[in-house]
C-alpha cells in the first residue's frame, strides 16, 4: 500500500533507531550503515549496542553511528533524548521505533505484570518517541516515522492477548498519526513482520519458516524507500493477515494459535 508521499532514498539520511541493541533493530542499523546514514542508536543494553556501533563504524571507516543509552519506559526522557541526538547529528530525517518485548505467556496464564510491560515497551514507549518525532517533522514539513508492529495486531487471537493488544493499538496509533501528518509531507510506515528469528521469538518452533533479522531489515529498508504505508514482511504475510482478519469468530474460538 502506498500513500501520497513520494519515495525517498535513505542514503546519507539521519536516522534514529530505537531498540537497536539486538534483533531487527540491530540489523536495520547495520543496513543503514551500509547506506552511509548517520545513525543514532538507542537501547538499554549499552555493551551490545556499542558492539553494533563499532561494527558499523569500522565498516564505514569513520564514525557514522553513535550510541545513546535510554529506556523506552522512561517516557519523559524520550523528547529530550531525541533533541539531543538531533543536535549531535544536525537534524533527524527518520525515526524507526523497533523496541518490543514478548514474554512467554502460557495459554492458561493471566499476568497483568507481563501485559503491562508489553504495553509500556511496545505501545507507550512508541507513543512517547513518535509523538516527539511527529512534532518535529510537522515543523520541518519532512521526515519519516517507522513503527515495527506485527502481524499479531491483525486479530485478537487467543494465544497472547497482551502482545496482540499492544500491536493492534500500535497499528491504530500509527494510522492515526499518518492521517494526521502525511498532509505535511511526513511519511508514516507501519511494518508488520511475520516470524523473524530473533530473541523475541526465543527459538520457538514456528509453523512457517522464520526469516533472519537481516532479511527483515532489508525488506524494511525497501518499504521505507518505497514510501509504503503498511508493509508485511515478508510480503506473503499480507495474505495470511487478510485470512486471519476474515476468519469467522467460531473458527478463532476453536483454534489455539
Amino acid at each position: 500500500m502506498r500513500g501520497i508521499i513520494k519515495s525517498m532514498k535513505l542514503d546519507q539520511k539521519k536516522v534514529i533507531v530505537v531498540g537497536a541493541s539486538s534483533g531487527i533493530g540491530a540489523s536495520i542499523a547495520r543496513a543503514l550503515g551500509a547506506k552511509n546514514c548517520s545513525i543514532g542508536l538507542v537501547a538499554r543494553r549499552e555493551e551490545l549496542m556499542h558492539g553494533i556501533a563499532d561494527e558499523i563504524n569500522t565498516r564505514a571507516g569513520r564514525t557514522i553511528a553513535q550510541t545513546y543509552v535510554g529506556d523506552v519506559t522512561h517516557f519523559d526522557e524520550a523528547e529530550p533524548l531525541l533533541d539531543r541526538i538531533a543536535g549531535d547529528m544536525g537534524g533527524v530525517d527518520v525515526l524507526i521505533y523497533v523496541s518490543g518485548i514478548m514474554p512467554a505467556v502460557q495459554f492458561h496464564e493471566y499476568s497483568f505484570d507481563k501485559d503491562r510491560a508489553m504495553i509500556e515497551v511496545n505501545l507507550l514507549g512508541a507513543m512517547a518517541w513518535i509523538n516527539a518525532a511527529a512534532k518535529r517533522f510537522e515543523t520541518a514539513r519532512a521526515g519519516a516515522i517507522v513503527g515495527i508492529s506485527s502481524i499479531a495486531g491483525d486479530r485478537g487471537r487467543g494465544s497472547m492477548p497482551g502482545y496482540i493488544t499492544s500491536k493492534a493499538a500500535l497499528d491504530a496509533y500509527l494510522e492515526s498519526i499518518r492521517n494526521r501528518i502525511s498532509r505535511y509531507g511526513v511519511q508514516v510506515t507501519t511494518i508488520k513482520p511475520g516470524y523473524v528469528a530473533t530473541d523475541l521469538l526465543g527459538g520457538a518452533k514456528t509453523p512457517l519458516k522464520a526469516i533472519s533479522p537481516d532479511e527483515a531489515a532489508a525488506a524494511i529498508v525497501s518499504a521505507i524507500e518505497e514510501g509504503a504505508q503498511v508493509r508485511y514482511v515478508p510480503g506473503f504475510w499480507r495474505w495470511i493477515g487478510m485470512a486471519v482478519k476474515l476468519a469467522p469468530s467460531f473458527v478463532m474460538q476453536r483454534v489455539k494459535f
Binding site: 532514498k9 533533541d83 537534524g91 520541518a140 514539513r141 519532512a142
Partner: protein, 480 residues
C-alpha cells in the same frame, strides 16, 4: 518583549528554516531581535545553553550559509530601518535588515541608485556585506564592499567596533565577505551612485562559444557600465554555448530630458501581468511542466531565436529596476524547481583559463546528462577583501535542478567542475554554494587566507559561537 523577559529555547521558537534553493530544510530555534539588547540576549542564551548562532537576513543564499540545524538562527530582517540619508552627498546609513529594495525605493527619486545590486532586490544589506555581493557591473564597480564607507559591528564578545578603511581596517576587510562569522553589522554606511535618468541604455547581441563571448566582453568593457551573458548550456556542436549578451550604460546628464519622471518609482516597476493578461505570479507554476530537460531545451532555444531575430543589435531604454531585478518580477519562479529544489554552481576563473574551464564544465554536464537550466556569465576584477571570491577573469553561474534521483550524480559533477576551477587558480562564492566538499572549497580560498581569517575569528569570537551549516561543512567537517 519587556526588559525582564529573556529569550528561551522553547518549542514556539522552533521553525522550519530552508535554504533559498529549497535543497536543504532544517529546524532551528529562530529569534528575530529588533534591538542590540535583544541580540545580546540571544548571545547570552547561546552561551548558557551551549548552542551556536547563525546569522540570517532574507535567506537568499542558495545553500546552507544562513542555516544552523538544531541550533540558533538569528534573523535580523526586522532591524530594517533607514537611519540616515543625505540626498546631497548620496551617503546612507541603514540597519542590517534593510533590503536593497528598501534602499532603492528610498533614494531613486532623489536621483541616486545603489552602486552594486544583486540579481534580486530582496537581499538584506547585512547579508550583502556578509557575502560581499557583486552585480553585473563587477568588472567596473567592484563588490558592494567597495562602496561601504563604514560600519559598526557587534562582536560575540559584546564589544562594538566601528570599522572603516582607516579605522580597524583589517576587520573592515575581513568582516565584509566574512559570511557572518565575525559579528553583526548593526549600522552600515554606504555611498550611493548619482544617476541622471531612471533609464539605462541596454544593448543586446548574440555570441557562440566562450572565445567569442570573452572577446565581445573585452571589446565592450571600457565603454559599458553593466555586462552579462545568458548562456544556453543545452546547445551542442556548432552552436555550443550560444549566448545572449546584454550590455548597459547609465545615461549622461542631459540625455534624459525628463529625469524626474523616469526616476519615479512607479515608472521603475514592471506591470504585474505579462502582455496585460497572464499574471506574473503564476509563471512559476506555468513553467513547472517544463522542468524537464527537453522542455527547458525548447525554452532556451526559443530565447536564443528571439535574441537573434528580434533583439540582437537592438538598443532599448530600460528602467534600472527592470534591468537589475528581472526575476523579482516573476514571483516564485524557483517553485518551477519543486519539489526537489535547485542548486547553483558559480565559479570564478582567471581570464586566460576561463574559456577552457567553462567549456569543460558544460561538456561534463552534457556528458552526465545533468544540464543546467540557466547559465549566467560575467566579467570580474579582483578586490582587496580577505575572503574574496573575485578574480581577474570571468564567473559562470549554473542553476541545476536538485532531485532525489540526480543528487548523487550532481555531487559528482560539482566535484569534477570544482576540481577544474581549483586547478586553474579559481574561486567559489559562499552565497551560492551548497555542495562543495571542504577540501575543494578550502583550496579555492587558499590556506593562507583561511589562517588569517581564523586568527581574526579567534579575536572576535573566541568561543566560536557564530557558526552555520556552511561553516561546519567547509571549516569543521560535518561532525563539528
Amino acid at each position: 518583549m519587556s526588559d525582564t523577559q529573556r529569550y528561551q529555547l522553547t518549542q514556539d521558537h522552533r521553525e522550519l528554516v530552508e535554504s533559498w534553493g529549497m535543497n536543504r530544510r532544517t529546524v532551528s530555534y529562530v529569534f528575530r531581535p529588533t534591538t542590540a539588547e535583544q541580540i545580546a540576549d540571544v548571545f547570552t542564551l547561546a552561551k548558557s545553553t551551549g548552542r551556536t548562532i547563525a546569522l540570517r537576513g532574507a535567506g537568499c543564499s542558495y545553500g546552507d550559509a544562513s542555516l544552523n540545524a538544531e541550533q540558533i538562527v538569528l534573523d535580523l530582517s526586522r532591524m530594517n530601518r533607514i537611519l540616515e540619508w543625505d540626498p546631497d552627498s548620496g551617503v546612507i546609513t541603514v540597519e542590517p535588515g534593510a533590503t536593497i529594495r528598501n534602499l532603492w525605493l528610498y533614494i531613486i527619486e532623489d536621483g541616486w541608485w545603489p552602486p552594486v545590486v544583486s540579481g534580486t532586490s530582496f537581499v538584506t544589506l547585512g547579508g550583502a556585506l556578509g557575502m560581499n555581493i557583486h552585480g553585473k557591473n563587477n568588472f567596473k564597480a567592484g563588490p558592494i564592499g567597495d562602496h561601504v564607507l563604514a560600519f559598526d559591528i557587534l562582536l560575540p564578545t559584546g564589544k562594538v567596533k566601528h570599522c572603516s578603511r582607516d579605522e580597524n581596517g583589517e576587520l573592515f576587510h575581513a568582516a565584509i565577505g566574512g559570511f557572518g562569522m565575525l559579528g553583526i553589522f548593526t549600522r552600515i554606511t554606504l555611498q550611493m551612485k548619482r544617476v541622471y535618468s531612471g533609464l539605462l541604455r541596454v544593448n543586446a547581441f548574440s555570441t557562440t562559444g566562450f572565445a567569442e563571448i570573452n572577446a565581445a566582453l573585452e571589446e565592450h568593457r571600457a565603454q559599458s557600465d553593466y555586462m552579462v551573458g545568458w548562456i544556453d548550456a543545452f546547445s551542442t556542436g556548432k552552436s555550443f554555448a550560444n549566448a545572449l549578451v546584454h550590455t548597459a550604460n547609465y545615461l549622461a546628464p542631459g540625455e534624459d530630458l525628463n529625469p524626474a519622471q523616469t526616476l519615479r518609482v512607479v515608472n521603475q516597476e514592471i506591470s504585474p501581468t505579462i502582455m496585460g493578461i497572464v499574471p506574473r505570479s503564476l509563471l512559476g507554476k506555468l513553467l513547472q511542466p517544463f522542468n524537464t530537460n527537453p522542455g527547458m531545451r525548447l525554452i532556451n532555444l526559443a530565447k536564443s531565436i528571439q535574441a537573434s531575430v528580434t533583439e540582437s543589435g537592438h538598443t532599448i531604454l530600460q528602467p534600472h529596476a527592470q534591468f537589475a531585478f528581472l526575476l523579482d518580477y516573476v514571483p516564485d519562479w524557483k517553485f518551477a524547481y519543486k519539489p526537489g529544489g535547485l542548486i547553483q554552481f558559480q565559479s570564478f576563473v582567471p581570464f586566460d583559463q576561463s574559456e577552457r574551464v567553462f567549456t569543460r564544465q558544460i561538456e561534463l554536464s552534457q556528458k552526465l546528462g545533468i544540464i543546467p537550466f540557466l547559465g549566467v556569465y560575467k566579467r570580474h576584477k579582483p578586490d582587496d577583501f580577505l575572503m574574496t571570491h573575485a578574480v581577474d577573469g570571468h564567473s559562470f553561474a549554473l542553476d541545476y535542478p536538485y532531485t532525489d534521483q540526480n543528487k548523487a550524480g550532481l555531487s559528482f559533477l560539482v566535484q569534477q567542475m570544482a576540481r577544474l576551477v581549483v586547478d586553474a587558480g579559481g574561486r567559489f562564492y559562499y552565497a551560492k554554494d551548497s555542495l562543495l566538499p571542504a577540501d575543494l572549497a578550502r583550496a579555492g580560498m587558499g590556506e593562507e587566507r583561511i589562517a588569517r581569517f581564523a586568527a581574526i575569528k579567534s579575536e572576535c569570537d573566541p568561543e566560536r559561537i557564530l557558526r552555520s551549516d556552511l561553516s561546519r561543512r567547509i571549516y569543521d567537517g560535518f561532525a563539528g
